[in-house]
C-alpha cells in the first residue's frame, strides 16, 4: 500500500478510536431513577436492648474475681433484633427484622432502604420495637407528608432526639 493510502487508513483508525473513547465516555445516558417518582430513604442504626437484663452478683460471686476485675453485676452481651414497619397510606410496604451487628451480636442493628413512591400527599407511618416486648411498639411516628418528584425524602432515627425524624 502506498504512503497516502496508509495515512488514510491510519486517520480512519485514529478517528474510530477517538469516537469510541469519546462516545462511551459519556453516552448513552444512564437512567438512574424514574424522573416522575419520589425516593424515600430509610436509615437507622440503633442498639436494641440486651437479650436479658443484667443480674446482680452476690458478695461471694464478686469475691471470686481478682481484685482488679471485680464488678457488681453480670450482663449478657447479645442484643435483641430491631423490628421495623413502614406503612404508606395505611398499607404495609416494609417489615424488617434487623439483627444486631458484631460477631457476638452485641452491636447496633442497622436498616437502610431506598424506595420509590408516587409524588404527592401520603400518610407515612413507621414503627420500631427495640425491647423484648412481643406486642406493641417502642417508637411510632405517623404523619402526612408531601413527596416531591425526583427529591429524596429521608426517614432517620435518633433515640436522643425522641425517635423518628422525617425530612
Amino acid at each position: 500500500m502506498n504512503r497516502f493510502g496508509r495515512l488514510f487508513l491510519q486517520a480512519i483508525s485514529y478517528a474510530a478510536f477517538a469516537m469510541t473513547v469519546g462516545y462511551f465516555a459519556s453516552m448513552p445516558a444512564y437512567r438512574y431513577a424514574d424522573a416522575g417518582a419520589a425516593s424515600v430513604k430509610i436509615s437507622l442504626s440503633h442498639a436494641a436492648d440486651k437479650v436479658a437484663p443484667c443480674v446482680q452478683l452476690t458478695q461471694e460471686e464478686i469475691a471470686e474475681f481478682a481484685a482488679n476485675m471485680r464488678r457488681t453485676e453480670t450482663c449478657e452481651r447479645q442484643r435483641l433484633p430491631l423490628f421495623f414497619e413502614f406503612d404508606v397510606d395505611g398499607a404495609r410496604v416494609l417489615t424488617i427484622e434487623a439483627p444486631p451487628s458484631g460477631i457476638w451480636g452485641d452491636g447496633p442493628s442497622s436498616i437502610y432502604e431506598r424506595i420509590n413512591l408516587d409524588p404527592g400527599r401520603h400518610r407515612i407511618t413507621v414503627r420500631l420495637r427495640d425491647t423484648a416486648r412481643t406486642e406493641g411498639w417502642d417508637y411510632v411516628k405517623s404523619e402526612e407528608v408531601v413527596l416531591e418528584a425526583a427529591r429524596y425524602f429521608t426517614i432517620t432515627f435518633k433515640e436522643a432526639t425522641g425517635g423518628f425524624n422525617y425530612r
Binding site: R6, Q10, S13, V21, F24, A25, S26, Y152
Partner: protein, 514 residues
C-alpha cells in the same frame, strides 16, 4: 477454553492484518498494547498533577474549582481535564484488548503466569483510580457514584453502620469521605504504578514506550478529541435531589447499572469470583512445561551472550564451578526459562561446522538439539523439487510453515532467534540450498519478545554471533510475518525465489572449521 482462545485468535489475526495495512508491522497498535497502557498512564498522571494545582480538595468548593478548570481555563486546564479523562478511558480499552490478546496467544500459561497474575490486581486499581476520580468532581454523577458505591459496599458485612448514611441528605454531608477519595485518587495510582512495575519484572528489556509515530498519533487523537468534545461536569451534587439521567462513562461505571438488576452482595460475588477465576487462567487446565535450556559446562566459556539475549531473565552468570580457567558459567533458572531457544542462537559454540557427529553447544534445548537441527538441514536439502532450492527456518508462530506449499523445505523451531547464524553459512557454503529464509513473527510482535530483534542484529553484524561476511546476502531473506499475512508472505517469497533464479549457481565452500 481452547475454543474461546481460538475464537479470539481468529479475530485478532484479522485485526492484526488490518492494522498492518494501516500502520505497518512496526507500529501496529496491537503489538504495543502494553506499552500504550504505560503511555496512557503517564498522560493521566501528568495531566492529573497539573489539574491538582487548580483543584480545591474541600467538598464545598471542589465543584466550583472543576468548573473553573473546565470553563475559565478551557484552553489549558480544560484540555488537561479532557485528556485526563480520555486517556483513562483509552487505558481501559488497551488493557482489556491486551488481556484478550495475550489470552488468545496463550501467553499466560505455565511459567508465563507471572505477568497475568500481577495484571489482575492492576485491573482493580485501574477501576479504583477511575471511580475515585469521578467522585472528586462532586457533580450529579459523583453524587450518584457516592450513593451507589456506599450502598454497594454496605452489602458487605464489614460496616456496623451503613456508610451510605454519609450521603443521606444535605444535612448529613461531611467532607470525611471526600477527603478519603482525594487520598485514594492520589495513592491508588502509585500502587498501580508499583503493580505495573512488578507486572514486567520477568521481562528483560521490557517495552514501556510505544514507537514514536504511534505515540504522536495517539496523543494528537486525544488532543483533538479533547478540543472537539471536552469533558464537562454535570449539575452540582445536591443530596436532596435524585439524579435521574446521567451522562455515563461506561468504561469505568458499567458495573453500576447492574445493581438495578442484581443485589449488591451477588454483584460482589460475580466480580470478585470473576477476578479469581481470571487469575487462575494460566493453570486452566494445567500444562506440562517444555524442558528448560540445559548448560553443558564442558562447552561453556562464560561469554555471557546467552545471558544478554535471554528475554525472560532466566540466565544468570555464576562463579565457575568446574575449575576451568573461566571466571563464570551460565546457569538457567528452571522457573523462568520458557524454552524459547534464544540463548542457543546466541551461544558461539552452537555451530554446525564441527566434525563430531554429536554437537553439544554450551547451552541448548533438550527438545531441539543442535545436532538434530543440523541433521534436519542436511535431510531437507535432499527433498527439493524443481526451481530454486529455498530452505525456510521459522518459528512456531509466524505461519511461515505454509511456505511448504510454495516448494520450500521448512524447519520449525520455537523462535527464529534459536537459529545460530552459522547455520545459514553452513547451508549455503555446503550448497545444501540456493537460498535461506529466516521467518519470524511480525516486527515488534515476537512471541518470545526479542527473537526478531536479535535475529536482525545478528544478520546485520550488530550483535554477536554475527553472520559471517562471506555469506552472500542475496541468498538470505529475513521475513517477518503473521499467520494472517499469507498473501504478502507468498509475494515476498516469490520475489526472493526470483532473485535466486537470477543468481549464478551456488558452489560448495570450505569452512575454516572443516
Amino acid at each position: 477454553m481452547a475454543k474461546l482462545k481460538s475464537f479470539f485468535r481468529i479475530l485478532f489475526v484479522r485485526a492484526e492484518y488490518a492494522f498492518d495495512m494501516a500502520f505497518g508491522q512496526k507500529c501496529n497498535p496491537l503489538s504495543w498494547l502494553g506499552s500504550l497502557g504505560w503511555y496512557f498512564f503517564w498522560i493521566v498522571a501528568g495531566t492529573g498533577v497539573y489539574l491538582y494545582i487548580f483543584f480545591d480538595t474541600g467538598i464545598t468548593d471542589a465543584y466550583a474549582s472543576v468548573e473553573y478548570i473546565t470553563n475559565d481555563q478551557w484552553y489549558a486546564a480544560g484540555v488537561m481535564r479532557s485528556l485526563h479523562r480520555y486517556a483513562s478511558d483509552a487505558l481501559v480499552i488497551v488493557v482489556v484488548v491486551h488481556l484478550l490478546r495475550e489470552f488468545s496467544l496463550d501467553r499466560l500459561r505455565g511459567k508465563r503466569f507471572f505477568a497475568w497474575l500481577t495484571g489482575v490486581p492492576a485491573l482493580f486499581f485501574i477501576y479504583l483510580c477511575g471511580i475515585s476520580g469521578y467522585w472528586l468532581v462532586w457533580d450529579e454523577l459523583a453524587q450518584f457514584i457516592a450513593i451507589a458505591t456506599t450502598e454497594w459496599l454496605d452489602a458487605l458485612p464489614f460496616f456496623a453502620e451503613p456508610i451510605a448514611n454519609n450521603f443521606l441528605n444535605s444535612t448529613t454531608l461531611g467532607g470525611r469521605f471526600f477527603t478519603l477519595m482525594v487520598f485514594i485518587h492520589i495513592f491508588a495510582p502509585l500502587f498501580m504504578l508499583l503493580l505495573m512495575w512488578i507486572h514486567i519484572q520477568r521481562h528483560a528489556r521490557a517495552r514501556v514506550n510505544p514507537p514514536r509515530p504511534l505515540a504522536i498519533g495517539t496523543a494528537i487523537t486525544l488532543i483533538v478529541l479533547s478540543l472537539l468534545h471536552p469533558a464537562v461536569s454535570q449539575g452540582p451534587a445536591d443530596l436532596d435531589a435524585v439524579p435521574t439521567e446521567l451522562a455515563f462513562d461506561w468504561f469505568y461505571l458499567a458495573a453500576y447499572p447492574l445493581l438495578d438488576m442484581i443485589p449488591g452482595g451477588q454483584l460482589w460475588l460475580v466480580i470478585v469470583g470473576g477476578l479469581a477465576v481470571l487469575a487462575l487462567f494460566p493453570w486452566l487446565p494445567p500444562q506440562k512445561p517444555a524442558p528448560a535450556a540445559v548448560v553443558s559446562l564442558d562447552n561453556c566459556n562464560g561469554c555471557a551472550r546467552c545471558f544478554d539475549d535471554c528475554p525472560f531473565g532466566a540466565i544468570s552468570m555464576v562463579r565457575r564451578s568446574d575449575g576451568k580457567g573461566y571466571e563464570t558459567e551460565a546457569a538457567v533458572s528452571l522457573e523462568h526459562c520458557l524454552s524459547c531457544g534464544l540463548c542457543v542462537g546466541a551461544c558461539p559454540t552452537s555451530t554446525p561446522f564441527r566434525r563430531a557427529t554429536e554437537i553439544v553447544p554450551g547451552i541448548e534445548l533438550p527438545e531441539y538439539p543442535i545436532t538434530g537441527l543440523r541433521e534436519s538441514t542436511i535431510a531437507a536439502s535432499s527433498q527439493f523439487g524443481e526451481g530454486p532450492r529455498v530452505l525456510v527456518y521459522t518459528c512456531e508462530y509466524s505461519g511461515a510453515d505454509k511456505l511448504r506449499n510454495e516448494g520450500a523445505q521448512v524447519i520449525t523451531m520455537p523462535c527464529i532467534a534459536m537459529l545460530p547464524p552459522s547455520f545459514i553459512d553452513f547451508t549455503l557454503s555446503r550448497n545444501l540450498a540456493d537460498g535461506v529464509v529466516l521467518a519470524g513473527c511480525a516486527e515488534g510482535d515476537c512471541y518470545y519478545r526479542l527473537g526478531g530483534h536479535w535475529t536482525l542484529q545478528r544478520l546485520n553484524g550488530e550483535r554477536d554471533p554475527y553472520l559471517r561476511k562471506r555469506v552472500d546476502r542475496n541468498r538470505v531473506c529475513f521475513m517477518r510475518t503473521r499467520p494472517g499475512s499469507g498473501k504478502q508472505r507468498q509475494a515476498e517469497f516469490a520475489d526472493f525465489a526470483a532473485t535466486l533464479a537470477d543468481l549464478p549457481p551456488a558452489s560448495h565452500k570450505k569452512s575454516r572449521d572443516e
